[in-house]
């Protein structure tokens, strides 16, 4: 934040115009990342601080932002009245699995796992909470609000890792906005988290309630309601 840096006045700072969460600008773009890094490191040789320089270039845009936009081509199972929500959700997880597995193979890592629950257990754990139950799962050392938050983050990461492994439009990956829009408006998983937000917000444990209100659905999606 430029505003915050102006107040703190660190010796040397490079302001970047990229979205929050991407200080080096763009994933899988070595040349662009190196350019940002060099601009920051070059400030070390200057002694006329406090220095606050602006990085001049925007991150390369996803080409899909310039045309019709990214659409997840996988047909996700629709909820049916005669089936329970857990099995519909598990089917959705299964429909995305080959892309998630590919993402893990290609990257050699995954951001899923901070809750130490497998994806099927995440589904059961979170949807039980969304129904108003109080299940217990995961490492004992994690307190309840922490485990709930990590489980939500792992669950969201499973979807976005699967989405970013798919072929993008015109050879570029979907933007973070497109992935968020897909997850929160079109998936059963996003819908379950919206119901979870509502249930947890009413919880008598204040930290669980804060987790529900603030740490599951981002500000940008907070207007959404469960279908």
């Amino acid at each position: 934040m430029r505003l915050h840096t102006e107040k703190v006045k660190p010796p040397r700072a490079l302001w970047v115009p990229f979205e929050l969460g991407r200080p080096l600008g763009a994933p899988e773009d070595t040349a662009f990342q190196t350019g940002v890094l060099r601009s920051a490191l070059d400030l070390l040789e200057r002694t006329d601080g406090p220095i606050l320089e602006d990085f001049p270039d925007d991150a390369p845009a996803s080409s899909s932002e310039d045309d019709e936009g990214w659409v997840c081509p996988i047909n996700l199972p629709a909820p049916e009245a005669e089936r329970d929500q857990d099995s519909a959700l598990l089917d959705e997880i299964e429909a995305l699995r080959s892309w998630y597995d590919l993402a893990v193979d290609r990257r050699g890592r995954t951001a899923v796992g901070t809750s130490q629950l497998e994806i099927e257990d995440l589904v059961r754990y979170l949807s039980a909470w969304a129904r108003g139950e109080t299940p217990d799962a995961g490492p004992e050392e994690n307190d309840l609000p922490t485990q709930l938050r990590l489980a939500c983050d792992d669950f969201k990461a499973y979807y976005s890792e699967a989405a970013t492994a798919q072929p993008g439009r015109n050879g570029s990956d979907p933007s973070s906005n497109e992935i968020a829009d897909w997850f929160w408006s079109q998936t059963l998983g996003g819908d379950m988290l919206l119901r979870l937000r509502a249930t947890l917000s009413e919880n008598e444990n204040q930290m669980v309630s804060i987790t529900g209100k603030m740490l599951i659905v981002p500000y940008t999606e907070s207007h959404r309601q469960p279908r």
């Binding site: 505003l3 969460g21 080096l24 190196t34 490191l41 993402a103 659905v217």
Partner: protein, 152 residues
């Protein structure tokens, strides 16, 4: 989108009214040329090694990220209001260790530190002072004379 004007209104208002510590002066140390510096990364992205303790509410402590564990780091930051999909695709967009190693191999910087450190930036930075002082000592022990700070 670290441009305020591009942000969601609620987030922008939160950031505009965030209490920010101010300091009476700015220390400005001189050092050797960049090509001789040993560089470490200190991030507030809430990074941890897989299986390490996740960051909780108000966490003012840090996690150690050794260079050889950089490829498998995970995020346990509290906030849901920054993009994580970039990090999921490529850790270097937050924690650019591969880029630093390349610059060291090219001779642009002297070397890359053995250990790096992560805080979780949703906590009040003033509560992190003790941990930051410890890290300063650890960095000196590792002969580090340049630190790259990466927020999310």
């Amino acid at each position: 989108m670290a441009r305020m004007e591009d942000m969601d209104e609620t987030l922008r208002e939160h950031l505009e009214h965030l209490e920010i510590p101010e300091f009476p002066d700015t220390p400005l140390a001189k050092g050797p040329p960049l090509s001789e510096r040993r560089v470490a990364i200190v991030t507030t992205a809430g990074l941890q090694r897989p299986g390490d303790r996740p960051f909780g509410f108000g966490a003012a402590d840090y996690r150690v990220i050794p260079s050889d564990a950089a490829g498998s780091v995970q995020i346990s930051h509290l906030s849901t209001n920054f993009d994580r999909t970039g990090f999921q695709q490529d850790t270097n967009v937050v924690f650019p260790l591969d880029r630093l190693n390349e610059l060291a191999a090219e001779g642009v910087i002297g070397s890359v530190a053995e250990f790096h450190y992560s805080f979780m930036g949703a906590s009040d930075p003033l509560t992190m002072k003790d941990a930051a002082d410890q890290i300063a000592g650890l960095l000196k022990q590792d002969a580090v004379d340049a630190v790259l700070l990466t927020p999310v």
